[in-house]
């Protein structure tokens, strides 16, 4: 089903900026960026059965890698930003992953959470390096070596940058699709379903978990790198645990037992949060209630529920 829908959705995403205003396009860009992070996160949760509460760390590493490149190396190329973010997230994810994949279930979750908090406190306390709570500013980058032709940042973000993010998003979706449908992806699902049996068909559990952790972290790091120019600033907030919670939230919202769930969840969550923040000061409470209702009423998420309804309708018509 996913492959059949991919082309019309890609066409829609290409044409959409012509039909909606720049603000809506920027919102959609945020959604696509978070979808990359959620896709990466779901390789661990949905396919390997590991719930990470520390993905803010890898998102933050990507974002801060870009900010450091701007501040200390005076880099302004988006391609170099992405490269730097990938290298930085490989290093940090490998370090954290080495410790985390030795554990599962609550121990894994707590360890990922604790390690992300270490990064947050470093970003918070070493303000002479990280800018502390003031954060670090990131100006408009050059895309494919070309500087923005427009002085208007909104115009840049809603046109050139949107299409840049869309292209990276498409590559990430294709890559993740390949990974989860590869023999490696099958091995991860086997580990998720039955660790003991997976060992007894010859799968080296810890090594596979580590690779999944690494890939997951790199995807989230790429999302962080794409997010900074969009936001214009990075602060320790994106390393703090509630941000990890948001990544979990969007994945559960869309449904973590299918490929497209995290993508849909990320885009919907982004709109949900934006409008909740705009309408009430109690937006966190509102999102909390939505999460509770979601878990109770739609445990398979938006995409999972649509799938169930479609299956039910098919059954009805075939009778």
């Amino acid at each position: 089903m996913t492959a059949a829908w991919a082309v019309p959705i890609a066409v829609l995403l290409v044409l959409l900026p012509r039909a909606i205003n720049p603000y809506q396009t920027i919102l959609l860009t945020y959604g696509l960026v978070m979808a990359i992070a959620a896709l990466g996160f779901n390789l661990l949760l949905g396919y390997t059965g590991l719930l990470s509460f520390g993905h803010s760390a890898y998102f933050g590493v990507g974002a801060y890698a870009v900010a450091f490149m701007v501040k200390y190396l005076h880099v302004d190329s988006m391609e170099l930003f992405l490269l730097g973010a990938i290298v930085a997230s490989i290093v940090i994810t490998a370090l954290f992953g080495y410790a985390c994949v030795r554990y599962t279930q609550i121990f894994f979750s707590i360890l990922t959470l604790a390690l992300s908090q270490v990064l947050w406190s470093l970003a918070f306390k070493f303000f002479w390096v990280t800018g502390g709570t003031d954060g670090l500013r990131v100006p408009t980058p050059k895309l494919m070596g070309a500087a923005s032709s427009s002085e208007d940042k909104i115009h840049f973000l809603a046109t050139g940058y949107y299409y840049y993010v869309l292209a990276v998003f498409a590559v990430c979706v294709a890559l993740m699709w390949l990974i989860v449908h590869s023999p490696f992806g099958k091995a991860l699902q086997a580990i998720r379903d039955n660790e003991t049996r997976a060992r007894f068909v010859g799968i080296q559990i810890r090594r596979y978990r580590f690779v999944a952790f690494l890939v997951s972290g790199v995807f989230t790091g790429i999302a962080g790198a794409l997010w900074v120019p969009l936001n214009g600033l990075t602060t320790p907030d994106i390393l703090y645990w509630p941000f990890s919670g948001e990544i979990v939230f969007m994945t559960v919202l869309g449904g973590f037992r299918n490929f497209t769930g995290p993508i849909v969840g990320a885009v919907v969550f982004n709109y949900l949060k934006t409008y909740a923040v705009g309408h009430t000061v109690y937006w966190q409470a509102l999102l909390g209630i939505i999460l509770v209702v979601l878990v109770l009423v739609l445990p398979t998420g938006i995409v999972g529920t649509i799938g169930l309804l479609r299956a039910r309708a098919r059954k009805k018509t075939s009778r």
């Binding site: 449908h181 039955n194 007894f200």
Partner: protein
Amino acid sequence: MSLLETRKLTKSFGDTLAVDKIDFAIGEGEVLALIGSNGAGKTTLVNLISGLVQPDSGQILFREKDVTNQSVAGRIQAGIARSFQIVNLFDELTVVDNVALSIFSREGLTRHFWSLADLHHPVWEEAHDILRQFGLEDKASALAGGISQGERKLLDVAVAYALKPRLLFLDEPTSGVSTREKAPIMDVISSIVRSQKIAAVVIEHDMDIIFRYSDRIVVMNQGVILASGILEEIKQDPVVREMVFGPSHA
């Protein structure tokens, strides 16, 4: 020459000596039944040889190579596979996926993240062929968690068989299935094991199954091997008769 040999293999859990200096051997293509009362140490012995638990002392030789400290994956590569007393399957994957995973792993393909699993046609052909041999072909696309207990037992063995082992441990392959289903399940397993000349160690409590399908019987009690021999020898052993058939048969 033995295919597998253990020398003074010992394992204790706390104060309980589960396996006590066991010397055990099985030859190429031999089908051996491992019997004994609950707690005799049968499953622990299989767990030690298959690598699920590490021995306190002793040696495990497979094809004259010391595999005592090898990982589970290393032992599988060497040719040791097992099924489980309580069925261990990938319940959320399809029946054919379960078997294909063993083949992907055996062929070292599970490291491939750059190719679609569906495009590895020889793997799927072999997986379907194995399912045909086990009589599970019509369940190929069903979820492993959704088939009957008898079928799950067969699939559990099929997943191990797909690793192309030289030695297969079958831990109670008919436990939890109806009496009516036991013989057909063992018929399928036995014909495959014998036709491929795979050595098999069957742990069973059902004496009819043991007498019908095994070449040799090893009797364990309280962590030691009590007796070993062909069916007629075992039947004559008074200690075994008392233990297996009860005091009135001693």
